[in-house]
Symmetry: C2
Subunit: 301 residues, 2 copies
């Protein structure tokens, strides 16, 4: 597959190691050694015993780096010796590919499926496809694919064809398990802090903005109490920033908060957002009829 | 001078020809033929008989392209045969350099001064320095330098040392006059349409937001009636987007408009804005404590 001009894909693999910094660093180094790929963030959690590496670059380079990351994880992590509260199925557990720029979801799905084939063919690790890249309806949701994780699934896959990997198998890899590879839309983790400390009001705001209650398209939301900051928070995931911009989430939270006597204290972005989400936020905040990347000097160079 | 890493400079030369599309196209082609420079916009006005070419790129390439543009204009335009309502002093009349990215004003000033020297040394066209690049206090403002334009100034420069060009002279070039070269901050032309059609209210809003009346730093504003759109407008120039973001201008106009019974209908950007202006607009609109280019995926690649 030749790379689309100017296309950028993000990849956010989850690895089943969050305690040994040398192992995490080694995996990230293998990923970062691929030309035209840049590691943007590494986040480790020792309770989960799990790390998330965020990287991005040209599509084919990202595919190479994803395979390199799975290879490194399979060499360094033995799931039989792994403990942690987070469910997991593989040393490289989940590998989502995200279209960021000049590439559509169909192309990202094709990329994810090619990565899944290579992980089985080159590394002998069975793979499942999830999200937009799922080959079976019941494998769209990650939770459904992962089931009881490595320990349960390694006994099941041989006897139950409904549990069979999409590539390879029938049994899991003895130490690396299986890797769940897929494509999804960019996800923006965005929080709004509110005062005063009224948790019930924050929960009520969250209920009113989340998609599952008829709120904003592609928005998940939770009301939380933040003891260290003496405030409450509406913590959101924006799973479809192409449908709902971060500003629209802010504006709706502010409106619902004010109805309940709460005031917006500040916003917080966890990680990064694509430029398009910032651009559409400007468009919505300032009532532009037309405003796109073509109006930003740097994007014209 | 070696180019600063990742530095981008914009240049917005004004040429004294707005009627003959071949001449304007030829000048823009000369500019665009320089490697590492891109022509972003060409705007011609036949009443003014004047064209504005917007281009940007690496600093040294922009300097080369600016000299190439002045050379082409001096070959194609004879000021003695020029008519038009806009004051002008040169075939290439004004050449402002604007720091866009990874370059500070001091470096842009140095660049403008080197362009001004080359235009005299290489092309025999005298140059004045204005804006941040002015060598004399009384030449900071463009209007002061341009005075009565080509016809008046060509008689004066020989006899009056206070009118002498900063490079070259004493007399002006017989057909190309002189070129006023300088450095300035990015200027954003941003308009907000308001309803209903109450011109006095729009003028009052404009008065209240402009810097000269104690309003927003670096903001100029006019209240206008737009007959074709059946609305009024506050038309602004944001001359210091590093001090006042476009969202802050929008927000203040909205606040002042609502006090006078007006509603914001829509926003309009004339031309382009630097990414930093969009980023700071998001920061202000969404009450982010921290939000910069580092949080945009594309700017990390």
């Amino acid at each position: 597959m030749t790379d689309l001009k100017g296309a950028i894909v993000e990849c956010v693999p989850n690895f089943s190691e969050g305690r040994d910094p040398h192992i995490i660093r080694s995996i990230a180094n293998e990923i970062g050694s691929i030309r035209n790929v840049k590691v943007l963030d590494i986040h480790s959690d020792s309770d989960h015993n799990r790390s998330v590496v965020t990287f991005a670059g040209r599509p084919n380079a990202v595919a190479d780096a994803a395979v390199a990351g799975v290879r490194a994880a399979s060499r360094l992590i033995d799931l039989n010796r792994h403990t942690g509260v987070h469910p997991r199925l593989g040393a490289a557990d989940v590998v989502p590919l995200v279209p960021i720029r000049n590439i559509d979801m169909d192309a990202c799905v094709a990329l994810a499926r090619s990565v899944a084939k290579r992980v089985w063919n080159d590394l002998g690790i069975p793979t499942y496809l999830y999200g937009e890249a799922a080959l079976r309806k019941d494998r769209k949701r990650l939770e459904k694919v992962r089931l009881g994780g490595f320990e349960q699934l390694k006994g099941l896959v041989k006897g139950d064809p409904s549990k069979a990997p999409d590539n390879g198998g029938p049994q899991l890899h003895p130490t690396a398990g299986a890797t769940i590879i897929g494509a999804r839309y960019p996800l923006i983790a965005y929080n709004v802090d509110l005062g005063p400390e009224d948790l019930e009001a924050a929960k009520s705001v969250a209920r009113n903005i989340r998609e599952s209650n008829g709120g904003l398209p592609g928005v998940k939301a939770l009301g939380l109490h933040l003891e260290s900051k003496s405030c409450v928070q509406v913590s959101t995931n924006i799973t479809r920033p192409d449908l709902t911009s971060p500003f629209q989430v802010f504006d709706k939270i502010r409106e619902e908060a004010e109805k309940r006597g709460l005031t917006v204290l500040r916003s917080e972005l966890v990680g990064l957002m694509p430029a398009e989400a910032a651009i559409s936020s400007v468009r919505h905040a300032m009532l532009f009829e037309k405003f796109d990347e073509g109006r930003i000097i740097e994007f014209n160079l």
